[in-house]
């Protein structure tokens, strides 16, 4: 299950279609909490054993039992307590906020992007039963992004390595495999050597095949 806590969720309908979250199949895998009162924190904690991904607004505002925002001191105390519980578990955590620099490594994501990619992320979970968090960061075509990353790394290696060493370079081989999946990559490399291709010519050819 995915748990999302976002005190700004009330405004979300202005920017994204979030009606789908009310549907049964999404409710079953994703719970959104907006105005979280201190009394409700225990309810969230009870859900943690079934939770695989916890997403929270970076500047999370919690509310007292009258529905009023907590002051800074109390808010920090309750937020830390809640997040400590997540930290001590094996649950993945993602922070999102408006204007936050998206970074897959540090698991931080711009709020707009988070909600843009939330539906494809949940759809992927429903269809494949896999929580693929890369979708939240890069969207549905995350595989294309991974493919391009592999090709980019290959291009850098091609610049660095002597053409005769290509066959022994794992980064180049991985890239060529991605690019020419149906071909014998050794033959491709030999063709480049035999034709006395310059590195610029090799890179041009790769670009034509991306």
């Amino acid at each position: 299950m995915v748990i999302i806590i976002d005190n700004t969720f009330i405004d979300r309908h202005k920017f994204h279609d979030i009606e789908y979250l009310k549907k049964e199949q999404y409710q079953a895998i994703c719970k959104v909490f907006s105005i979280v009162k201190t009394i409700e924190i225990s309810k969230i904690l009870k859900l943690l054993p079934d939770c695989s991904l916890f997403c929270n607004h970076k500047t999370l505002q919690l509310y007292n039992n009258d529905g009023l925002p907590l002051n800074l001191e109390d808010n920090t105390k309750y937020c830390e307590s809640l997040l400590n519980n997540i930290g001590q578990s094996s649950i993945q955590r993602i922070e999102f906020s408006g204007g936050l620099e998206t970074n897959y490594e540090t698991k931080k994501i711009d709020k707009d992007l988070f909600y843009t990619n939330l539906k494809p992320f949940l759809d992927y979970k429903i269809e494949n039963n896999i929580l693929e968090t890369k979708i939240l960061f890069w969207g549905n075509n995350f595989q294309e992004k991974e493919r391009l990353t592999i090709i980019q790394n290959m291009l850098l290696q091609i610049r660095m390595v002597n053409i005769r060493e290509f066959k022994n370079n794992s980064v180049i081989k991985k890239g060529l495999n991605v690019l020419y999946s149906k071909q014998d990559i050794n033959k491709t490399i030999e063709r480049w050597i035999d034709s006395k291709f310059s590195k610029n010519e090799i890179i041009q050819e790769i670009n034509k095949n991306i």
Partner: protein, 586 residues
């Protein structure tokens, strides 16, 4: 040798590349990790302030642990739009590096749809090169900057930068409006230091708008004359007072010194989330200022943005907390001069406040309109004029307060048609004064107030069968006349007979004979106040245009509030005497 710098992550590849290109260590720049757009802006500012950079080489996909990206173009955008840099720094030639072809760069990458950094590739001063060192060298050699005069045409017009969909509209408008007003009033630097303001102004969207209108560099168009407000008492109520507006307004109204008061909204907010955690406390403090002698009150319409700044919901303007506060202030004193400020461009919201009695309005500038600095200055001039108009009309506050007190006192003492008539006439006169804009309308208000004297005279006099004028319970009206020898009014026992006597004389009878008052100067002044009224009613130029020794017109103040205030001072005293008498009667 030109000062050419390159962005590198010091991986083996870049070490070799920079070696081949013969970049010395001090020309190689490493890229930090950024948390938000503000960081990108600050980093580019420091980069150019700490180095003399003639050309800059940046890989399109920055060499970090992240997968393929287009952050290099984003850095270039932040440089091109960094209004804190000189224009020549902003236009530094940039050599973008990628081994992907242009078709693949454009076709395979997912670009940020708000900033569209790919559009930069088609602007002047940006060159694309592969990672081939020879090509890089050649490209550096031929890279030319865009000329400053072509900045708009060749760079800005080719970019496509949009507002981020969900960045709090209220917050960005607040920051933008505050910055724009600060810009034309000479407080830009002070406001820009405010993190709540600058974090919004360092986003690419705001930067683009600022660069487009050169809004950061037009010092010559700044109006350094702050609003004249010495000794004026000004109250400023805005939920964003803690986010720049409080300081800005304090500076704009610095002539008022400690008489400028703003509610410190920070006291009632969570300092991290910037949300109210004690809105009632904030409201209570606002209400504590009701009844004080403010010359001007500026109130934001939507004070509780969490509940009132919801664009998709049609909230009636009368439900806004700002509107309710305006209503409460005016219920206490209709004479308060209130300027309603709002970031909303919805005219019906403003109209509702004006209909309730606000004097004017100030619309905080929104980035949606992106006014030029000259337009902003014009906007500020309008605000200044409105403020001065409010100051000029602040006499209404005291008149309303006294009027209300008099009506209340009358109400509590006697209940009769006579008292009701007096109360109605006082209300009518004030109402005419409040709405008076032209000379003639001020004169009508004056005449309406004068009617109080006629109402009192009518109440106390009956004409006798022998053609005399009897003062109720006292006797006949005596013939009061100014005696130059004794410098006072005398009657020598003579009674008024026949024709209707002038109103001042009738009132003198009540004053001297019924109330036993002795201040002759009071009646003398009343005589001239009534004569002024007669001059207007009978279009008597000799009276109206009468001048003193210094050639000042003595009676022209009937055409403004001064005449009304003089007459009102007398009416207050007269009703005071009347109330003393009725109390004695009880």
């Amino acid at each position: 040798m030109e000062e050419v710098f390159i962005l590198s992550d010091y991986t083996q590849f870049f070490k070799e590349l920079t070696k081949q290109l013969e970049f010395s260590d001090d020309r190689i720049i490493s890229l930090p990790t950024f948390d938000n757009e503000s960081d990108w802006h600050d980093w580019t500012t420091q980069l150019f302030n700490n180095n003399t950079i003639n050309k800059l080489v940046i890989p399109i996909s920055t060499p970090t642990n992240n997968p393929i990206n287009t952050d290099g173009l984003k850095i270039a955008l932040h440089i091109r739009l960094n209004y804190e840099l000189s224009l020549s720094q902003r236009l530094t030639p940039i050599i973008s590096l990628s081994d992907f072809s242009v078709e693949n760069i454009l076709g395979k990458n997912n670009f940020d749809t708000d900033n569209n950094p790919q559009s930069l590739l088609f602007t002047k001063g940006v060159c694309l090169s592969s990672f081939d060192s020879e090509e890089i060298r050649k490209t550096i050699g031929k890279a030319e900057p865009c000329l400053p005069e072509d900045y708009k045409k060749q760079v800005l017009n080719k970019l496509k930068i949009l507002a981020k969909a969900s960045t709090g509209k209220h917050s960005i408008t607040n920051a933008w409006g505050c910055f724009k007003l600060a810009q034309v009033t000479g407080f830009r630097d002070e406001i820009f230091k405010h993190e709540a303001i600058s974090e919004h102004l360092k986003t690419l969207y705001s930067k683009y708008l600022i660069c487009y209108n050169e809004a950061f560099t037009q010092e010559k168009r700044i109006d350094l004359n702050t609003i004249k407000c010495n000794d004026k008492k000004i109250l400023f109520i805005d939920d964003q007072a803690d986010e720049g507006w409080g300081i800005l307004m304090k500076n704009i109204f610095k002539g008022a010194r400690n008489n400028f008061v703003f509610i410190d909204s920070a006291k009632y907010k969570n300092s991290e989330t910037k949300l109210f955690n004690d809105f009632e406390g904030f409201l209570t403090e606002c209400r504590s200022h009701i009844g004080k002698d403010w010359d001007l009150i500026i109130i934001d319409l939507r004070l509780n943005p969490g509940k009132e700044d919801i664009d998709t919901e049609m909230i009636p303007p009368t439900e806004f907390t700002g509107y309710k506060l305006i209503d409460e202030f005016l219920n206490e004193n209709e004479g308060y001069q209130i300027i309603v400020s709002t970031a909303s461009n919805k005219i019906w919201n403003i109209n509702a406040a004006l209909e309730r009695g606000a004097s004017s309005y100030y619309v905080k500038e929104s980035p949606e309109f992106n006014y030029s600095v000259n337009e902003t200055k014009h906007h500020y001039e309008n605000f200044k004029n409105d403020v001065q108009k409010c100051f000029r009309r602040s006499y209404l506050r005291d008149i309303y307060k006294d009027n209300k007190q008099i009506i209340h006192n009358l109400n509590s003492r006697v209940n009769s048609d006579f008292i009701n008539e007096l109360q109605n006439q006082l209300s009518l006169a004030y109402s005419l004064l409040k709405d008076a804009k032209s000379d003639i309308e001020f004169a009508y208000a004056y005449i309406s107030l004068y009617m109080i004297i006629e109402i009192i005279n009518n109440e106390f006099y009956t004409k006798t069968s022998d053609d005399k004028w009897e003062i109720l319970d006292i006797g006949n009206l005596l013939y009061w006349k100014w005696d130059k020898n004794y410098n006072k009014y005398s009657n020598y026992g003579k009674e008024v007979v026949g024709n209707k006597p002038p109103e001042w004389q009738k009132f003198a009878g009540i004053y001297y004979q019924k109330w036993n008052m002795t201040d002759h100067d009071f009646i003398k002044q009343l005589y001239f106040l009534i004569k002024k009224r007669n001059g207007f009613v009978h279009s008597d130029k000799l009276i109206l245009d009468k001048q003193d020794m210094s050639r000042n017109f003595l009676n022209h103040d009937i055409y403004n509030n001064v005449g009304y205030e003089k007459l009102f001072k007398h009416i207050k005293q007269i009703i005071g005497y009347l109330l003393c008498e009725t109390t004695t009667q009880r």
